[in-house]
Symmetry: C2
Subunit: 694 residues, 2 copies
């Protein structure tokens, strides 16, 4: 290790510590805000308790899964233990567990703060938009800071201790395992609860949306937190770690000096610092516009990052302007993808209005137009990712062999540099969404509800942008994971004295075989999650019926009679994990089968097919879902006949279809791709040694 | 040219002549069948007139398009005319025009016979299932024989005259241009008419489905013919020509002797002969099962083809058993894909029933479950294509350089060998569908309608299988088109003394850039077609309202008052072509832009991305659409509450969504892929000489 790298290890730890300290400060600030309304306190406590039940159960199942995986890693990875490298296997297993644990801690604390902030934001809304916004935003920022701090700390620690970037793939796989449970499991959970609560409450009994008699109502609110706070946080923890890990694997394979490794840490550190500055700078006037406040924080973070990394490039020896250019390209393309996503899902823009108008002709037209615009919306994002990869490559290719793909991985690091800010904005959404509901439950009056509504609507708008951003980032990350896989496979090939891989040729039928199967997997994975929501909702509806039938006085709302919220939460949780596991296993098994049939060449194709169709479907489903949601809201605001009209009924059906698209399947595909990419890299030794063809 | 090849040229012409003679015999047989019912004669004549109106308008627009394309080809392709090869350019332009004209003739005659058969099949149904089946099947067989005969004759003639397989790409492009208009244009037409007729007739006025007062009702019946007979025929003409052309381009690049070229013709000839035998052998008992009759003809054709090609391999010098194996693999996988498609869309199998049950919970669940199973249904077909490509490659690779990809192209030729049978079965569908309607209009009584129903239902079942088959064949064909593109690009590279392409490496960002953009194109293309149906339907609904308002006595059904059917057909036609052109142009423009940015490497990636996402989306949309259609029919047969139930209403919405999926967008993607592949091959010289990066 050289001095420069030692410096950056030290700075990584220091910056993570600053992030944690700032998070602690924000946490205490939120906690200090007053909370007086008894009703709000009660329901808020129920939500917190429910979220904890889910997290406990989820982590329980995850612990078993992780234990099995850790034992397998200990025996088999990076190479079978009987080959003699016991220390490497032990490091890998520990790194894997560290990845799951750090992500779990970030998620747990994030949920804690989110469920603390919702009620306080609701009560603060009585005093105006400014204090309510600050409570919501700072609550979300705690999650953002923790996720980025933990990922930076973890990556630095693993590399510092082992000196071997390949071990980072184990850490990254740990993060992915957790993300699979948190994001896909949380996604099934939240939509199960949402659908069941609506079906039994609003439709069957005709009671209001948040009526506390409904045993599913707490689960519904819990769902917002576990899906959008913990799930999204785990997803971005995963992407962030994967981007750093693949950049570091490639950087270590590049050359003898450590400048490239240092640079990866430097960019990650400056990204976190920029997010801290952006969060601290978030301001809103007394009658300010919360959407503008959120977006301007993002732009501040982006600008600060570009300036700081430019300064670092000028100062530090061995840092290249070309790499800076690649990274800046990634970041700018991320912003552009966010803006185009916004165009397709914002109700002040024409697309949402066209879908709302089409709804007037019936639900089939809501679906057809939403699907069509969802398909079209994939184009700009895919062009953006394609162009940024091409530009990053062209900028860095003159630096020598291997630098071009390093440039792409640094474009991914650049795109994810502002992830702290992205998570803060994203976690703000469910907090103020909960706050709006609590303001209604607590009877805080029309003015307060209007204020909370405005905050909520800003959350929805910003969410579309951040979602586009995180899919784009995942796209670039997996390209560099493909590079990391090639590095790993080549190390394994070199070890057995076989010819190295120079690439994956489309015209090779082994590669092509992998591509076609890889492309089908995200479709099957999303289908299984969507069907899982459906099956799980049926179980939960049965439980709700059981409670209404067997708990005396519940239906009538007798004083003191309460439903068993925990049981509903338990059922939703168990079901979510039960439905998730086959979908996850099929993806992993397909990887193993393809690898054993066609070896590393087929796996290269498999990963490509997976990435390409995964990106397409994730963009399609997320954007269609967002589009339908906002079309419904647009109609509810009084357009195209308003609430209760034919168009509204059609739009509600569109929204129901869109819910599992945008909150379960769409965003889980990211995680599926990362998991598969890491499994491939980890098993590269196995695939190199045993395969049928190719 | 050697003697063997001369023999096969002669046999090609002879076999085509036999096919035409047999088609003429079947045509005269159908014409001879009695037709007495005046009402049926009247409506049948209206359908015929409408189909002719559409064809006239379509061919009119196509003629302009083709004229422009032919001039461009004359000037630019295969290389700019100022380079001096005027004769090549002239051959290419003439071949292009021949491709459009031959396909157009086959389509025109096919429509003529189909509109002749529908009424006769209805009347024959009075005498039982056997005569009615034979009229429907033989009417469809005329189309099948013409399409395959014309494609064999055209390909043989072009190669015989020019001796240059590259010129065949021009012929193939002509077939694709026509297919784009016929399939995508016909697809928009048929769904425009369907939706408009339903919205104004059934929903607004409450008149029955086939009421002759509705100005759109003839257009609706016309749509079945132009979409499913002419469109499907042009699509398979296109696939068949493309498969032969790419196999021949690769065969010519292989070696000095002509055995491989001879073999391609030999297989095509034997495929046509097998189809003739299969058609002649089609039998049904007096109370027979029409589905079984159709399927057993397919199996007979398959078996005959395998035996005949094995015999040819044993007899002819230079024919290889390995190639026979590749071709047999393609054919068998085609059958397997057909069977799995059937599993997902047949109402005697569990999937259709699950979607019908889900419909009981409301339309959102119809959509969600249909989308999910549609996604899952793509997996077996994609695995099938992947495995057949891999196996064909492995079988043929030992034969030497270039033979592996030739093996894949022969797998495609094998899969398409029974295309004559496939088209016959496919064209049978709309004929008996029309027959069912005509039996009702003609008042032929309940027994006859029940017979017609049974024939119609067999048509729907078989259609699902043939559709899966044709998508699978298109998948393999475009892989060999990718090989043809590489041959063409290398010829162009050799001409300018540049380094040849050995493959397209995924890890090259130029290739990757092409892949991502290529993958987005089928999504955008299908979205534009679906939105086109929507816009066009709005125009047609306005015209229907105008007629009801301005034609006195029409609404009341006054004696002698007739709506202006031709005007509706004209509007649907103009609109279909208007909506289709931007979708087609965007696909072609994207190819050109990607080629000019990244050169042949980016185009290789672009074609791959296009194939992969195109296959996925085509399978998803065709199968979801078929699934929804059959779920609705299953419920209408009295299950899950039957007609008028909640489940039925939901299933109708699913069916409306599925209509443009399965009849417009899904099957048009095949054509889009072929068009783009051929444009890429034709422009390879341009891309080799001018591009920004790569």
């Amino acid at each position: 290790m050289d001095n420069q790298l030692a410096l950056f290890y030290g700075l990584s730890v220091l910056t993570a510590a600053i992030a944690f300290a700032f998070a602690a400060y924000l946490y205490l600030w939120v906690k200090k805000q007053k909370t007086q309304n008894a009703r709000i306190q009660e329901v808020s406590a129920l939500i917190k308790e429910g979220a904890n039940t889910f997290m406990r159960r989820e982590y329980g199942v995850l612990a078993k899964f992780a234990a099995v995986a850790a034992v397998l890693i200990l025996i088999l990875l990076p190479s079978p233990i009987w080959n003699g490298n016991i220390l490497d296997n032990l490091s890998m297993a520990i790194a894997y567990l560290a990845g799951t644990v750090l992500s779990a801690i970030a998620g747990k604390i994030g949920i804690m703060v989110a469920t603390l902030s919702n009620g306080r934001s609701a009560e603060a809304a009585q005093e105006g938009i400014k204090p309510a916004f600050l409570v919501g935003f700072r609550g979300g920022a705690v999650m953002g800071l923790l996720v980025v701090g933990c990922s930076l700390l973890g990556v630095a620690a693993v590399l510092m201790v082992t000196g071997n970037a390949s071990i980072l793939l184990g850490f990254s796989f740990g993060a992915s395992s957790l993300a699979l449970f948190a994001k896909a499991g949380g996604g099934i959970f939240t939509k199960t609860a949402d659908v069941s609560a609506d079906l039994t409450g609003k439709v069957e009994l005709g009671i209001p949306e948040d009526d506390p008699r409904n045993p599913a109502v707490v689960a519904d609110n819990v769902g917002d937190n576990v899906g959008d706070v913990a799930g999204m946080g785990a997803d971005l923890f995963d992407s962030n770690v994967a981007a750093m890990a693949s950049a570091l694997v490639i950087a270590q394979s590049l050359s003898g000096d450590y400048a490239n490794v240092s640079m990866v840490f430097c960019y990650a550190i400056l990204g976190l610092l920029s997010s801290i500055i952006g969060i601290a700078a978030a301001r809103i006037g007394k009658h300010g516009n919360p959407t503008r406040a959120l977006n301007s924080s993002t732009y501040v973070t982006t600008a600060v990052f570009l300036v700081l990394t430019a300064a670092a490039t000028a100062i530090f020896e061995g840092f290249s302007w070309r790499i800076w250019g690649a990274s800046a390209t990634g970041l700018l393309v991320g912003v552009i993808i966010g803006i185009t996503t916004d165009y397709f899902t914002d109700d002040t823009k024409p697309i949402v209005r066209k879908v709302a108008r089409a709804s007037g002709s019936g639900p089939a037209f809501t679906i057809l137009s939403g699907v069509s615009y969802g398909f079209i919306s994939a184009l700009p994002a895919m062009v953006g990712i394609a162009v940024s990869a091409l530009v990053a490559y062209q900028i860095c290719a003159p630096m020598g062999d291997g630098y071009a793909i390093f440039g792409i991985s640094m474009a991914a690091v650049g795109m994810l540099s502002i992830v702290g800010m992205i998570i803060s904005n994203d976690a703000y959404g469910p907090i103020v969404d909960n706050a709006r509901g609590l303001a209604e439950i607590g009877g805080l009056g029309e003015d307060t509800i209007r204020t909370a509504d405005e905050l909520d609507s800003a959350g929805n708008t910003v969410k579309a942008v951040t979602k586009g951003f995180s899919i784009g980032a995942a796209g670039l990350t997996v390209i560099s994971l493909l590079g990391a896989f090639m590095s790993e496979a080549n190390a394994a090939l070199a070890a057995v004295g076989k010819e190295l891989i120079v690439g994956f040729d489309i015209m090779s039928p082994t590669v092509f075989f992998g591509i076609l199967i890889g492309a089908a997997i995200p479709a099957v994975f999303s289908a299984m999650l969507i069907l899982g929501v459906d099956k799980n909702a049926q179980r939960m509806v049965a439980e709700i019926h059981r409670q209404f039938d067997s708990i005396e006085g519940l239906r009538e709302g007798k004083e003191g009679v309460k439903p068993d919220y925990g049981r509903c939460i338990n059922i939703a949780t168990t079901g979510a994990l039960k439905e998730l596991i086959p979908a996850g296993l099929i993806s992993i098994l397909a990887t193993v089968v393809v690898g054993l049939i066609g070896g590393p060449q087929a796996i290269g194709g498999f990963l490509l097919g997976n990435i390409v169709s995964g990106l397409l479907l994730a963009l399609f489903m997320s954007n269609s879902g967002g589009l339908w949601d906002n079309s419904k809201k647009y109609i509810e605001s009084g357009q195209e006949g308003g609430k209760g009209s034919q168009a509204h009924k059609a739009a509600v059906i569109g929204d129901t279809v869109g819910d599992p698209f945008k909150d379960t399947a769409g965003p889980s595909i990211n995680t599926q791709i990362t998991v598969v990419s890491l499994v491939a890299s980890l098993l590269s030794t196995v695939f190199v040694q045993f395969h049928l063809f190719g």
